[in-house]
Each structure stands twice: as structure tokens, then as C-alpha cells.
């Protein structure tokens, strides 16, 4: 959502959607802050207080911050609007709020900020609900009202090292994209700046892998610098984002801030700042070694890679295991399967600061992290679940998908049973003809693009019937059709990709066939996702 335009704010203001309302509130609030200097409508400031708590805090702080802004900022309202525009990107989650705050912080009185805004922060703030601008050292502490979710903390841990840079570093617009680079794309360190910036909001989907990739591949120098900077602010952990000493961290956050890192950054500031930062830094250093075993072992070894970090960690405890488990899982994702369990017999877990040290709760946390890791892997596997958040919905989708796959197996076995047995099953000939690569040939090829466009069911259904009917076979085809009818009425329809296909679950043979074929095309698309030939190539082959 790159709305670098003032008019868009006006539109946002007018929207009745509560989310947009919030965003528009925020944007107008910013404008209001800037309206002291620029001529913006400022009617929404008092309504800002009605925003939910998490945003309300931000707003309150933002108002105070706005007043403390240097005038130079407001000399360039366009640039600010660019930053604000992204705040309108509503996600309605805490993470988005946290992101926005992080991003806003480094914006500071200097002309380079505008460049930074233009270059690095507009796309990165796209997820943020609030664009908090703060002057140096005036960030209130009311922003630390973020849920200390386990995942949140973990993500924060991963991304906190992004932000350990210097504030002056943030001001360099060209350093920002570099920090952004490793985390925007999954692992591409040297990608061009513009591309990364544009990709940041889109690539913000999966925080952990990108973070891990970034950690593994990128900028050891920046890691060192960030850890060094992080060391300077050891005692800021407990405070929220707005801690002045953390400002440099936040500046770094926003500088490095890809949209993915936002929730983690704020969360680390709000919930588990030092530990998560320490963990992430440790992880980053370890990622250079890129060894899961070392990570787990190193978690227990105090002098392990993150020697600098041990000093920076004022807190006594860190959840080393979680840090190790996560990079282990992510590295696993990188290479082969997610194997979060290291090869040791047992896992050394340390309690995070402020958390229960009960062994049960620690084990519970480890278990929860494992489960979330597996769920993420499953999310990649099941098509159309990239946007789904939440365990229950995800489980529903998984169950639906497995059921649809099993139904497809049944359907295909029935089809094979009725297929003309006159043909000889020449195994070698079958393999030699590369039928596997053809994967259904033209008939299914016709399905997938149609299904993707939610084309009316006539065309696919016709093809389905042709496929099912196997014309020219006479009575076997009739028997097949009867059996198909009996089977399909029993089945409740094919797998419906939640994002694409509208609900066409009708107890009709045509529709069922269509759905079956659509479900059949789903794994086809899944296969495509796995890197197989795209449909175009398939057509060329045929």
C-alpha cells in the first residue's frame, strides 16, 4: 500500500471503516501535528483518544511527539505524507502498530530523513498502523502496551538485531535499504535497493525465514555495528518503544525496518526487549556459522559466538533455546525439512526475563514454538493459506485439504477402474513417454487457468464430463458415470481454495466434477509452487 499522496489521506479520512478510520485518524493526527505548520485539516485530534488502547497510546504519544518535532520536518510535508501514507495500511494488529512506531522513530530533523522516507520507509511502514515520529529522546513510554505473545517475542528476537544500529546510520538513506535487503527478501542480500524496498511490504509475509536468511547471509559488519550499538543501550529493555535511549534502536528498527520486522521490533522493545535482542544478535552471529548443532550447544556455552551480546544482555536470563530452536528451524527450512529438535538428547532452556521459571512453563514454551514452526511449514504446503493466521483456521484448512486429496485419490481410482482395460499397461512405455511430466496434459491444463479465474463452470465441467465419460467407450462410460454420480453425491465437494474460488458447493454432478477437477488443479498449482514447470511450459510441451 504505497500511498504517498496527500489526497489518499483525505480519502482515508472519509472512509467509514473503523480500521480505515483509525488509520485515517492516525494520518490526520500526524497531519494535525504537522498542521501547525502545514495547512491540513485537523478535526480529528480529539477523536484520536477513542482509538483502542494500543493505538491510543501511540496517538497520545504521537501528539506529544509531534509538537516536539523540529520545524525542519514540517518543511517537507510531502515526505512526511509519504511516511504517513504507509501508516494507513491497516492490518489492525498489534504488530502493525508496533511496526509503525518503530518506523516513525528515526524520522528526525534532517533533510536526509526525507530521502530516507522516500527510499526506505514508505514501503516498510506499509504494515504499520501508526507512524510515530519522535524527536530524539522524547518518546513516551506508553507505547509498550503490546501483547507479549510468544510468537511476537520470537519475531522480535529475530529482528531486534536489525535495529541495533546507530541513529546516524539510519540517517544514511543508502544504508537503510542495505539493512532492509536481507530481511525483505528471503535471503537475497545484495538485491538492488529499489527492488527491496518495493518488495518489503509484500515480502513481509513470513517473518522468520526472511529474518533467518538475512541473519545467515547478510552483513556481518552491520551485525557487529548493531551489536555494538545495542550494547550502548542495555538498560532500555523494560521500557517501551519510546525510551529515549532505545531511540537509536528504534531508529535502527525503522531503518532496517522491513514490514516483517515491525512487530518483532516493537515487541522486543515492549515485551522482551533485551533478551530478544540478545537472542537475535546471538542468533545472527551464529547464523554465520550456520550450524544448528552449534546453535543449540552454543546456547549453553556462555562464550559462544555472541560474546559481545553477553555483556549487552543486562537481563539475567535469555531464552537461548528458543533462539536456537528457531534458527535451527529456519535453517532447516532453508535446507530441507524443519528439524527444530537438535540432535542432543535434551534441550537446555533458560527462562526469559520476567517469565516463569517453572520447568513446566519452559517446556510448554518450547513445545509451543515447535508447534508454531510446524504450522508455518504446513502453511507453505497448503495452497492458499499464506494469509491465514491462527491455529484454528489453519487446522481447518489443513483438514480440508487432506480430505480433498483423499477424495481425489478415490475419484481417480474410480476413473482408473473404469478406464478402458483394453489398453495394455506398458510400464516402461509409460515412463518413457514422460507422462509424469505431462501430468494430465491438456485437460487439466484447461482447468487450472479457468479455475484460477473462477470461470463459469461450463467449460471445466464439460471437460470434466469428457474426461469422466471417456467418450467412445459405450457402456463402461455409462457405468462410470453412474458410479461417479453415486460417489460424488456422497462426497461433499472438492477442496475450495479459500482465496480464489467462490462457493460453488452444489450437489450437482457437474459442479462436483468441476470441484474435483478444481481440487485436482490445486495440487497442480501446489506443484507449481514447488518449483515445477509453469503451465505455460506445460502447454509448450504438449
Amino acid at each position: 500500500m504505497d500511498m504517498g499522496d496527500k489526497d489518499k489521506f483525505g480519502l482515508e479520512k472519509g472512509s467509514g471503516d473503523p480500521v480505515n478510520y483509525h488509520s485515517s485518524n492516525m494520518s490526520t493526527d500526524w497531519r494535525f501535528g504537522g498542521a501547525n505548520i502545514s495547512n491540513q485539516s485537523m478535526g480529528l485530534v480529539p477523536t484520536d483518544n477513542s482509538i483502542p488502547v494500543r493505538k491510543g497510546d501511540l496517538m497520545g504519544s504521537s501528539v506529544s511527539l509531534v509538537n516536539s518535532f523540529c520545524p525542519t520536518i514540517w518543511d517537507h510535508p510531502n515526505s512526511l505524507n509519504l511516511g504517513f501514507c504507509d501508516s494507513n495500511a491497516q492490518t489492525g494488529t498489534n504488530t502493525s502498530n508496533t511496526v509503525a512506531i518503530r518506523k516513525g522513530i528515526p524520522v528526525c530533523s534532517s533533510t536526509s530523513i526525507d530521502k530516507a522516507l522516500d527510499i526506505g520507509w514508505n514501503p516498510t511502514i506499509s504494515k504499520g498502523g501508526v507512524f510515530l515520529q519522535s524527536n530524539t529522546g522524547i518518546i513516551p513510554q506508553s507505547l509498550s502496551q503490546f501483547p507479549a505473545d510468544a510468537d511476537f517475542i520470537e519475531r522480535a528476537a529475530r529482528f531486534s538485531c536489525f535495529n541495533a544500529g546507530n541513529f546516524s546510520d539510519m540517517m544514511n538513506p543508502f544504508s537503510i535499504p542495505q539493512t532492509l535487503v536481507p530481511y525483505s527478501k528471503g535471503g537475497t542480500v545484495q538485491a538492488p535497493i529499489q527492488n527491496n524496498e518495493m518488495h518489503l511490504p509484500e515480502a513481509a509475509k513470513e517473518v522468520t525465514p526472511s529474518a533467518d536468511h538475512g541473519a545467515t547471509e547478510g552483513n556481518p559488519i552491520e551485525n557487529e555495528r548493531q551489536t555494538g550499538n545495542f550494547m550502548r543501550h542495555p538498560d532500555e529493555e523494560k521500557q517501551g518503544i519510546g525510551v529515549s535511549s532505545n531511540e537509536s534502536d528504534e531508529a535502527d528498527f525503522s531503518g532496517s525496518g522491513d514490514g516483517q520486522g515491525d512487530p518483532s521490533m516493537l515487541e522486543s522493545a515492549g515485551g522482551d526487549p533485551s533478551s530478544s535482542k540478545g537472542i537475535s544478535i546471538k542468533k545472527r552471529k551464529r547464523s554465520g556459522q550456520d550450524n544448528e548443532l552449534d546453535q543449540v550447544k552454543g546456547a549453553q556455552v556462555p562464550g559462544e559466538g555472541a560474546k559481545d551480546n553477553t555483556e549487552t544482555k543486562q537481563k539475567g536470563d535469555q531464552n537461548l533455546t528458543s533462539a536456537t530452536a528457531k534458527p535451527a528451524g529456519k535453517h532447516g527450512k532453508d535446507s530441507s525439512q524443519p528439524s527444530d529438535a537438535p540432535k542432543e538428547d535434551y534441550i537446555h532452556v533458560r527462562a526469559r526475563r520476567g517469565q516463569a521459571t517453572n520447568s513446566h512453563s519452559l517446556a510448554e514454551r518450547v513445545r509451543r514454538e515447535k508447534i508454531s514452526e510446524r504450522m508455518k511449514f504446513l502453511q507453505d504446503l497448503v495452497p492458499g493459506c499464506s494469509k491465514v493466521t491462527g491455529k484454528a483456521v489453519m487446522l481447518d484448512e489443513i483438514i480440508n485439504y487432506v480430505q480433498s486429496l483423499q477424495r481425489q485419490v478415490e475419484f481417480l481410482s474410480m476413473k482408473l477402474a473404469a478406464v478402458n482395460p483394453r489398453l495394455d499397461f506398458n510400464i516402461e512405455g509409460f515412463l518413457a513417454k514422460d507422462i509424469l511430466q505431462a501430468r494430465g496434459g491438456s485437460s487439466t491444463m484447461g482447468f487450472s487457468p479457468d479455475m484460477g479465474m473462477s470461470h463459469p463452470q461450463l467449460h471445466p465441467s464439460q471437460q470434466g464430463l469428457i474426461q469422466a465419460g471417456i467418450p467412445g467407450m459405450g457402456s463402461p462410460s455409462d457405468a462410470l458415470r453412474r458410479t461417479i454420480n453415486s460417489q460424488l453425491t456422497a462426497m461433499s465437494g472438492g477442496y475450495k481454495e479459500p482465496t480464489q474460488l467462490p462457493n460453488m458447493w452444489v450437489d450437482d454432478e457437474l459442479h462436483n466434477v468441476v470441484q474435483m477437477n478444481y481440487g485436482a488443479s490445486v495440487p497442480f498449482n501446489n506443484q507449481e509452487l514447488n518449483g515445477s514447470l509453469p503451465p505455460g511450459h506445460m502447454k509448450v510441451e504438449l
Binding site: 485439504y401 478406464v419 514447488n530
Partner: protein
């Protein structure tokens, strides 16, 4: 990366499949060819055994056998590395062993359980998943998710191969 349709030796086919499935498990192409071979063999055997009748009953029975053959060949192609494949192999073997007598009893008991489930109405998602994935009844949730992921991968491969076979023989 497009391979033209010509008679290729099996090795190049495997290489092609390997390149095609670059992002999936490294052993996927081998698994795919292995599954294909087993499945085709089973199909040929079924065709040999059963008469080529087009009656409704025969077709459904053959369909059932083909389905079992598909699952069995997929499970054996995966091997015994996975819990679900082991469970499925055991199930198929038990099914073959106590085919005639036990089957009716098993069916009735399962039907009764299904009815009871409907009345209970608290079958949460986890139980549902355990029911779907073979061998999922005696796993912790974490392992269940892992097995589900692998099972989904294998199922997609299976569906692809079966569909390609069906299309090949129907055209």
C-alpha cells in the same frame, strides 16, 4: 527446462523429475518414480485378476482395490521412515490378512463410532486430523503436524501420478 516428448531413458526421466521437484524434498523424484512403478505394477495385476466387466459392482470393487493399491504403493515408496507410512503398511497388511471375516465386523464398528461422533459434536480439529492421517492416533500434536506435512506432500504426488496415468489411458 522444457523436455520434449520423445523416448527418454529412465535415467534422464529421473533427472528431469529431480529438476522439476527442485523445491520439494530431495528424495521426491525417486519417490515419485518408485511410486509410479509400484502402482502400475499393481494396476496391471488387478487388471489381470479381475474380469473386464463393466458392471457397477465390479467397477466399484476394482476401484476399491485400486485405491488400496495406490495407498500401499505410496506407503512402500516412502518406506518406513515415516510414522504414517508404517501405519498405512500395517493397515494394508492387516486388511489383506483378515479380509473376509473381520472386514464386516470392522465396518460395523466403524459405522457405529461415526454415528456416535456425530452425536457427540465435540470432535475438535485435532481429533479430525488424527483420524485423517494414518497412524495419527498415537502421536503428540507436534509430531502429528510433522506427519501431516509429509503426508500431504505424498498425497499430492500420488494424485498427480494417478491423474497423469488416468489421462494417458483415457486419451
Amino acid at each position: 527446462m522444457v523436455v520434449c516428448l520423445s523416448i527418454y531413458p529412465k535415467k534422464s526421466l529421473q533427472l528431469y523429475l529431480a529438476s522439476m521437484n527442485s523445491k520439494s524434498l530431495s528424495s521426491n523424484p525417486c519417490r515419485k518414480t518408485s511410486f509410479t512403478r509400484r502402482f502400475l505394477r499393481a494396476l496391471a495385476e488387478i487388471r489381470r485378476e479381475e474380469p473386464n466387466s463393466s458392471s457397477h459392482v465390479d467397477i466399484s470393487r476394482r476401484c476399491q482395490r485400486i485405491k488400496v493399491a495406490a495407498y500401499a504403493s505410496m506407503a512402500s515408496a516412502v518406506g518406513s521412515k515415516r510414522a504414517w507410512s508404517r501405519a498405512m503398511i500395517c493397515k494394508v497388511r492387516n486388511r489383506a490378512i483378515c479380509r473376509a471375516s473381520m472386514r464386516q465386523k470392522i465396518k460395523i464398528s466403524k459405522w457405529k463410532k461415526a454415528v456416535a461422533n456425530k452425536h457427540r459434536r465435540d470432535v475438535n480439529q485435532e481429533d479430525e486430523l488424527r483420524r485423517l492421517v494414518p497412524g495419527g492416533k498415537s502421536m503428540d500434536f507436534c509430531k502429528l503436524l510433522e506427519e501431516t506435512a509429509h503426508y500431504i506432500k505424498s498425497l499430492t504426488t500420488q494424485v498427480q501420478v494417478m491423474r497423469s496415468i488416468a489421462d494417458y489411458y483415457s486419451t
